[in-house]
């Protein structure tokens, strides 16, 4: 168990900076999830923590000790590689065994751990196979297993479940949660799966283009996104963004007009160009006579099981709404919508910063 601290950490490949001086503190035992678009520097950050990439600039500490020049093996980390990095010439069992060797455990302990982890990940029948004889998901599980057999100070997971089916993923996710609770190991976890991020994280770090956009608890990040990028990045389908102008205490856009929520009233002034955001789940269809926020045409409907996604068009504006599947209208139908005013977010049109908590 160790805390991790990044101070102005920069990573440069040749002339290209891919990580631009990020600051990040991870407390001992904390479960941090890195989120961000593809190519934003998550893996790079993880690899720097692991010591596989040199830190071009800045300072990286683990357990209060600067480790810029410490060899990977002395950092006490275990990692699940995004590309698995399995030993191709070893069986699944040997892959796990090899990860354990430096610990010099008793034979019986080694076997116990391997079997336990293998069962956990459904690999118990595949222990004698080589990686080349495994399916993609099975390989990923081996990569996972190789990290989980160990007892490091820090776990680094780089999209460890991306190739698993939903059921297995849920199951393993729960196991990781339990593991974290049980061992209290510091964990840095990269994922694109919002459910994973939301359910596992003590703290979510949202990155973009080598910068950190926001750090906070899952709830914080979801309900109080610091800017438009975070707002649209978190939540699936993404939050709808509608350009609007403040006028008469209202947000007026193209064919839409919404009351300004109470908490923003003081923060806007008339004529200000803003954008407001509304999550698809906060848009509901009206069938009664209530006052509608807008009227839209249904362009496409997508059936998701319990829910349906509606691609809506209001004037020139496209919106997505998520409604219970049984309320799903026909395509091309005209529907009347209501935006939940309390769930609105308002961003400065220019900077994209949320008007709610500019300070933070």
């Amino acid at each position: 168990m160790s805390s991790i601290e990044l101070k102005k950490v920069v990573k440069r490949y040749g002339a290209v900076d891919v990580v631009h001086g990020i600051d990040l503190e991870i407390a001992e035992g904390e479960f941090v999830v890195l989120l961000g678009p593809s190519g934003c520097g998550k893996t790079t950050t993880l690899r720097m923590i692991a010591g596989l990439e040199d830190v071009s600039d800045g300072e990286l500490s683990i357990g209060n000790q600067v480790v810029n020049a410490v060899a990977p093996k002395d950092r006490g980390v275990a990692m699940v590689f995004q590309n698995y990095a399995l030993y191709p010439h070893m069986t699944v069992r040997q892959n796990m065994e090899f990860a354990l060797r430096p610990l010099r455990l008793a034979r019986s302990e080694t076997d116990r751990r391997i079997n336990e982890t293998a069962v956990l990940l459904g690999l118990d029948e595949l222990l004698a196979r080589r990686p080349s004889q495994l399916s993609g998901g099975q390989r990923q599980r081996v990569a996972m297993a190789r990290a989980l057999v160990r007892t490091p100070d820090v776990f680094l997971f780089d999209e460890p479940l991306s190739n698993l089916d939903a059921k297995l993923r849920t199951q393993v996710r729960l196991e990781i949660g339990k593991l974290h609770k049980r061992l209290g190991t510091t964990i840095v976890y990269v994922t694109h799966d919002q459910v994973e991020a939301m359910t596992l994280a003590d703290k979510i770090v949202i990155m973009q283009d080598g910068h950190i956009e926001q750090t906070g608890s899952p709830q914080e990040v979801y309900t109080r996104p610091r800017n438009r990028f975070v707002a649209t990045f978190i939540g699936s389908p993404a939050m709808n963004i509608v350009p609007a102008t403040i006028s008469d205490g209202k947000l007026v856009g193209d064919h839409v007009s919404v009351e300004i929520p109470e908490r923003f009233k003081k923060r806007v002034q008339a004529g200000q160009k803003v954008e407001f955001g509304i999550r698809p789940t906060e848009i509901s269809l009206l069938d009664g006579a209530e006052q509608a926020t807008a009227t839209a045409r249904v362009e496409v409907t997508e059936y998701l099981g319990d829910e349906a996604l509606l691609d809506l068009r209001i004037g020139s504006q496209e919106l997505i709404a998520e409604v219970p599947a049984n309320q799903c209208p026909a395509e091309d139908a005209e529907v009347r919508l209501r935006f939940n005013p309390e769930a609105l977010h308002i961003f400065d049109a220019e900077t994209g910063m949320s008007l709610e908590n500019q300070a933070r």
Partner: protein, 274 residues
């Protein structure tokens, strides 16, 4: 594989220095002897300080058409290298990719072509080449050297082809490529390090070969190795000239190796598959 840290680097350079000294001392002896005046060539203790003479070098070119022999060697070595790499790597590819019990036997048979003592076949080769008019031509040497170099290439390249991820070939197959194109555009470039060593080895083997070159060539196709050795005569071994010749004939080899080094690229397949 890894990028060593400062301390490791120092250690590496230190060890390497020792290795280089050990391995290059004889080379230094060649070089220094090649400029050593004949009378003190062998002397006890070995002469370390002396006025260098380039007489051996001038004699080399004065008494033999040395440049022509260099060219002969170059033709034979390059010819055989190209020939062996082409045929050898094709065969290696086939052996690497066909899964068949008989394949072992073929691979082994190919290897066994290197096993027969050359001495036993000098005379039959002489007879063939004499009859076909190839005696004393570089082509004869190219053919013979390839007989030894093809097995070498096959065996080396097979190991390297085995390492190329099949998935890449599959991708190319899906993209609409035939076997030869896949081989040429995908597999071969990814086995480049293997190709580089094979080329180096083929070249060097051919460049150095002595017995066949001695028996099967005359003034027309004589190679530089034979030429250098021809300073071993009945009354004297002309050490100075032999050393001078040996030193000169290192140069093309070094150039060739340096050229091939470019293919010795690290982690070629990195990033290709998960």
């Amino acid at each position: 594989m890894n990028r060593p840290n400062r301390r490791q680097a120092v250690l590496v350079y230190l060890l390497l220095a020792v290795v280089l000294i050990v391995f290059l001392t004889p080379i230094y002896i060649i070089a220094s002897s090649s400029v050593k005046p004949t009378p003190i060539m062998f002397q006890k203790p070995p002469a370390m300080v002396f006025t260098p003479t380039f007489e051996h070098y001038t004699q080399l070119f004065a008494t033999r058409p040395f440049a022509k022999f260099m060219l002969n060697s170059l033709i034979a070595a390059l010819g055989s290298t190209v020939f062996s790499l082409t045929f050898g790597s094709l065969a290696a590819y086939a052996i690497s990719r066909i899964r068949h019990k008989r394949m072992n036997d073929v691979a082994f048979w190919i290897l066994s072509m290197r096993m027969f003592p050359p001495i036993a076949v000098v005379v039959p080769y002489y007879i063939i080449f004499k009859a076909s008019g190839l005696l004393d031509t570089p082509l004869a040497l190219i053919i013979i050297y390839s007989t030894a170099n093809i097995p070498l290439t096959v065996w080396l390249m097979k190991g390297f082809f085995d390492e190329v991820p099949r998935a890449l070939e599959e991708a190319a197959a899906i993209d609409g490529y035939g076997l030869l194109q896949i081989f040429w555009y995908v597999t071969l470039p990814l086995a480049a390090p293997g190709l580089a060593v094979s080329a180096v080895f083929c070249f060097i083997f051919s460049w150095n070969e002595f017995i066949f070159a001695l028996m099967l060539t005359g003034s027309n196709a004589q190679t530089v190795t034979v030429a250098v050795m021809s300073f071993w005569s009945s009354d004297a071994v002309q050490w100075g000239r032999i050393m001078a010749g040996s030193f000169i004939i290192l140069i093309p080899g070094v150039i060739f190796v340096l050229t091939c080094q470019r293919w010795l690229v690290r982690g070629l397949t990195m990033g290709s598959v998960k």
